[in-house]
């Protein structure tokens, strides 16, 4: 099977999920009351909306992640070619990793990896 299988699997997942939800909707009887739609907060009324500011730490980690993820994308073609290129590949990747590692050390020094 070629790329058509991906479409097939996507459709299968869609049918499976939508079918499950539809069957459940068909079988159950809904009821409404004032409290039911409230967000869950251990029994007390919810203290405001959840759509507000959150810890900047998550954002910083996502930024550093981006650098390393892109590095990894570059490394996949390199990894395939390593055996043919030989020693030169190792030296080049050493340089590449060294430069990235400097950036990582900078982020570390600036306290981006520290949880407040």
């Amino acid at each position: 099977m070629g790329s058509g299988s991906l479409v097939t699997l996507m459709l299968a997942a869609l049918v499976f999920s939508a079918g499950g939800i539809a069957v459940s909707k068909f079988l159950t009887k809904g009821s409404t009351n004032l409290q039911k739609g409230q967000p869950y907060e251990c029994g007390v009324p919810a203290a405001g909306s959840a759509w507000k500011q959150f810890n900047v730490g998550y954002y910083l980690f996502a930024l550093i992640f981006l650098i390393f993820e892109v590095e990894m994308v570059f490394m996949f073609p390199w990894a395939v070619a390593v055996k043919q290129v030989g020693m030169l590949a190792l030296i080049e990747i050493l340089l590449f990793v060294f430069i990235l590692f400097l950036g990582f050390l900078y982020a570390h020094k600036k306290g981006a990896l520290k949880w407040m």
Binding site: S5, A12, A13, W51, F54, V82
Partner: protein
């Protein structure tokens, strides 16, 4: 003897004899879709039961034992219960994203099945960038989780989703490095090539200590990526009730739950393929008699037993280690695992270039 490796070619030839090309393609697509759905449902039923039985066994209690003999129909009864629950959307929620999130998570879990080699010559699509495809697609699932947490408009959900997002993206790097180290040794991204390269021994044994380190890093990283204990910060019950799916009920919750278990199966299947030889039988050197007996066991059984062994190990973790705090969790990745896995990758490159592996 009916073996999984012959089924796909048998179906293809017998269909091609009678029908035109397009109808064969359509029929095969239907078969694949049905097989994938069946596999999903079966895996969900088996893994949830296995989880409960393994936990019971580790904690010296009985576990589910009422529904059916030894409780084997417990998860079927649970599924029935979940279907009969009303699934409603909370008042303040972002309705579109709230309804979309389970679909995203499910579709991604399903697509990840495509390149996995379940037996000899038996994969849905053995594409030439197999492991890269897995790394790329599995990182999309974090969007579904963030979507669910954000759309619920619940503070527990938002916190759970944020933690889960930070954790998944962090540990993905280490998992990727571990995968890369095997790619370096093999020189190919295709799953069938990676399995074929292990015909004379699994990489875990052939690659010396660095391969062992990569394997350990991979197991730690995927445990964190699938939000399993001891890294279950995303839904730490005592802090965040249900994490990102606090507001989900009924079938939508069941979909998240199912996708979580399918993801565990997929990462363990990839781990088994990369490090434990996939469907390759276990051989010892030149011991012909032993190797011959091992060859007689079907390849699908080898693959499934390796995968389920890894799943068992991950379940074992849950009852062995206490839960980490979020800052400890991120520290473990960024200050220890990442430098170690980078260094390990360079070491493996040296081994691969010098040909020091067996």
């Amino acid at each position: 003897m009916l073996r999984l490796e012959n089924i796909s070619s048998f179906i293809h030839t017998s269909l091609s004899n009678h029908l035109s090309e397009t109808s064969v393609l359509l029929l095969e697509m239907t078969i694949i879709a049905l097989a994938a759905i069946t596999l999903f449902a079966l895996l969900g039923l088996i893994l949830v039961l296995m989880e409960r039985k393994v936990s019971a066994w580790i904690q010296i209690r009985l576990g589910p034992n009422r529904v059916g003999p030894k409780g084997i129909f417990q998860t079927a009864a649970d599924t029935l219960k979940l279907v009969l629950k009303e699934g409603f959307v909370p008042d303040g929620a972002d309705k579109f994203l709230y309804k979309l999130a389970p679909f995203v998570v499910m579709i991604i879990a399903m697509i990840l099945l495509a390149p996995i080699a379940f037996a000899k010559n038996f994969a849905i699509w053995d594409l030439n960038i197999g492991v890269f495809f897995i790394t790329a697609i599995s990182s999309v699932s974090v969007i579904g989780i963030l979507m669910a947490g954000w759309a619920s408009n619940n503070q527990y959900s938002l916190l759970g989703a944020m933690r889960s997002g930070a954790q998944i993206i962090s540990y993905e790097i280490s998992a990727g490095m571990a995968i890369l180290s095997i790619v370096v040794l093999t020189g190919s991204l295709q799953i069938s090539d990676i399995v074929a390269s292990q015909s004379n021994g699994w990489w875990l044994f052939k690659g010396h200590i660095p391969a062992l380190i990569a394997f350990v890093i991979y197991i730690i990283a995927v445990t964190a990526e699938t939000n399993r204990a001891p890294f279950d910060m995303a839904e730490a019950e005592s802090e965040l009730t249900g994490g990102f799916h606090t507001e989900y009920a009924g079938m939508r919750f069941a979909l998240f739950f199912l996708a979580e278990y399918i993801n565990i199966f997929i990462v363990c299947a990839i781990g088994a393929t990369l490090f434990l030889g996939g469907w390759m039988p276990f051989h010892i050197g030149n011991w012909e008699a032993f190797n011959h007996i091992m060859d007689y066991i079907p390849s699908s059984i080898w693959f499934l037993s390796k995968t389920f062994f890894l799943i068992f190990v991950i379940m074992w973790f849950r009852w062995t280690f206490p839960r980490l705090r979020i800052d400890q969790l991120l520290q473990l990745e960024w200050k220890y695992l990442l430098p170690i896995s980078l260094f390990n990758l360079l070491l493996i490159t040296l081994i691969a270039i010098k040909g020091w592996h067996f």
